[in-house]
Amino acid sequence: MQPDELILRLQQKDEKAFERLYSLYSESIFGVINSVLHDVEASEEVLQDVFIKVWDNCESYSSKKGRFFTWLLNIARNAAIDKTRSKAFKNQKKNLTQEYFVDILENKSSFSSKVDAIGIKKYIKALGEDCKKVINLLFFKGYTQKEASEELDMPLGTIKTRNRLCINKLRAILVN
């Protein structure tokens, strides 16, 4: 369930609601930022900025426009991508590799109690290369369908259905 009640209280600038929402969403948002930046320190900075923005701009969210999670995602991805463009970040990461969330998951040893670590690792292993790419672009990088279809040289309609199959696999693992 989307915590509509908490979101409403957040929009009335209720600190407690802000903290509850933070604990609900911060880790996944942190993950999104980290899979863009591949830099823990920079990700921490961006995460802070993102949630300050959330507090400052929470009244601009409306469930008519979309999910709260999606709203957060957009703020986070934009902030992370801005960061990759900053001079300091570029200097520090001279050779940004092509790695993405898959590498982070494969190399990670300590998982939060919130997620089924074994399940996720199993999922990544079972995931085809196409699925990895599609999810990376659409979810972690925030590409539009069209951009993803151009980048992957895949027809527009295929992107949508392929992606659904990929996410179905992920859901199957999490349910079992």
């Binding site: 979309g66 999670f69 996720i120 659904r164 999490l174």
Partner: protein, 268 residues
């Protein structure tokens, strides 16, 4: 709407990603509020993605919350604003409102001016076209006149004066016949305007026996300002005659309506 098909289309995953346009997103939000099974599906997708993203987090960032809280307090939000800064915010917001109003007015003025300029441009363009066609017309007329002059001056060209006949004793016509190019220029300045429904027809004549061959009509007589008409004349003409014929011309000349007639000099 077939809800199962809608779910299977994959649009809900894109919705959670934020990969749809804001219009599409709004539409999905509406559907989601109508159909609980769609909402459930969206929640499951969201949960799966949240799990996936959580797994990509370096660690659980609970302690970062303290830093955020501290920043928020030093900024503005959580702590109560003191009156001084409130005044400043008010002034700031006043300035920003004023600025946006000025900006808007500016845009309107610009839009207006663009519109006026566009209209003026249109008028000028129309006038330009008019002038261009006038110029074209004058150039055409000049070329025509030059052509006529060249024909008249050309020593190769035979001039045949046609004199007025019984129906029109005042009438006169000059034919300039270029035998090389088989062209005859009919200068019909001395012919009266043909009555409605009639047209002048030019005939090439062989004299012995009298054999007329039609060379053509003096079409659009009224509108031809030079009253010079170019006709093909491949015939071995001995004389030229002009008759008035019903519109469209005739097979043989109506001799009662013979306006002018003249014999080619060296055949005389």
């Amino acid at each position: 709407m077939d809800i199962q098909e809608y779910i299977e289309s994959g649009i809900l995953e894109l919705y959670v990603y934020g990969a749809l346009t804001s219009k599409e997103s709004k539409e999905v939000s509406t559907v989601l509020k109508q159909y609980p099974e769609v909402e459930k599906e969206v929640e499951q997708i969201e949960a799966a993605l949240q799990n996936l993203a959580t797994a990509a987090a370096p660690y659980n960032p609970e302690e970062i919350l303290a830093a955020i809280r501290a920043k928020l307090q030093s900024n503005n939000g959580v702590v109560k604003l003191n009156p001084a800064s409130q005044k400043r915010t008010r002034l700031l917001s006043f300035i920003s409102i004023a600025a946006s109003v000025i900006f808007l007015v500016g845009i309107f003025v610009l839009l207006n001016r663009t519109n006026t300029l566009r209209k003026e441009l249109q008028v000028v363009e129309i006038e330009n076209t008019k002038l261009e066609s006038k110029l074209q017309y004058s150039e055409d007329a000049l070329t025509e006149t030059k052509e006529i002059l060249a024909v008249i001056r050309d020593p190769q060209v035979t001039k045949v004066p046609l004199a007025g006949q019984q129906v029109a004793p005042e009438a006169y016509v000059n034919v300039f016949w270029d035998k090389e190019s088989n062209k005859a220029y009919i200068d019909a300045m001395g012919l009266p305007e043909p009555p409605e429904g009639f047209v002048y027809q030019v005939w090439s004549l062989k004299l012995d026996p009298l054999t007329p061959t039609s060379m053509g009509l003096l079409d659009d007589f009224v509108n031809n300002t030079n009253k010079v008409f170019a006709l093909e004349n491949p015939n071995d003409s001995q004389a030229f005659g002009i008759t008035l014929e019903p519109a469209g011309g005739s097979e043989t000349p109506t001799m009662e309506q013979l306006y002018t007639l003249g014999v080619v000099a060296n055949n005389a």
